[in-house]
Symmetry: C2
Subunit: 157 residues, 2 copies
């Protein structure tokens, strides 16, 4: 079974996002071994953005697994339609990458180091969203991708 992790910085505080995420995490559990790993926000997140980005990056790095494909969520990454994104996931699996880690940075994004060694940089939108909203959107898109792969009716092109 495919294993997908979303590695994200900081707990979700908004209850509506927690509720939305739960819905898609539950749906996803029928398609893959899905989990979310939360790393702590840096105490410097409001005072020194660069220190915060770097230390959050170090925390993300410490739990990465070299056997997994890493996909960094980055506004400046490659933007894909939902169909193209599902093809990416399929193709990665065909190439032997059935374990994927999606990385979402904190309030000020991912460190350059994390981005540079990620196998793929994915842009969900050119617009800036809160990193917590990115989690909801990404989880929904991963779910959507699996329904496309399985030929189910959720996605309307």
């Amino acid at each position: 079974m495919r294993k997908i992790r979303v590695i994200s910085v900081g707990k979700i505080r908004d209850s509506y996002l927690q509720e939305g995420l739960k819905i898609f995490e539950k749906k996803l559990s029928h398609y893959c071994d899905f989990s979310t790993v939360i790393v702590k926000e840096s105490p410097y997140k409001n005072t020194n953005h660069q220190i915060a980005i770097d230390s959050e990056g170090d925390r993300i790095q410490s739990i990465l697994n070299s056997a997994h494909l890493t996909v960094a969520c980055d506004e400046k990454g490659s933007d894909q339609s939902s169909l193209a994104f599902s093809n990416l996931i399929s193709n990665w699996a065909n190439q032997g990458h059935s374990k994927i880690d999606f990385l979402i940075g904190g309030a000020y994004g991912l460190s350059d180091r994390i981005k540079s060694f990620s196998s793929y940089k994915l842009s969900l939108s050119k617009m800036t969203m809160t990193h917590q909203m990115v989690r909801l959107l990404l989880t929904e898109q991963i779910y959507r991708a699996f329904t496309i792969i399985k030929g189910e009716k959720y996605h309307h092109s």
Copy 2:
């Protein structure tokens, strides 16, 4: 005061999206006269997509105001960063367009007719999202745009 309407097809059923929207609608009320207008979904939405799209389009059209600028949300529209989007809203106001209607289609999108007479086609993402999630994202982006215009701290570039 600027007047912004989001005109959307179908009520939101998911309570988490209702809750998220409420949060941003309340925040937005400090920046503009913001309202949401819901038009009914077509009874044909599950049986004949084209009839549904066209009849939902007619319903949207019936409440448009020719004095308002209309912005259609469309995956194939122009994608903008949040900063560029805030500049668009500012520029429209400078050109005398302080009343804007944002249009979100139903499950199968907006009719070609609605798109063709909209002043602007905006893509929030190349990815397909549920039209209800589009409402949350759009409302957050309009809020974000006003905080950028006012030079507030919500947005991190």
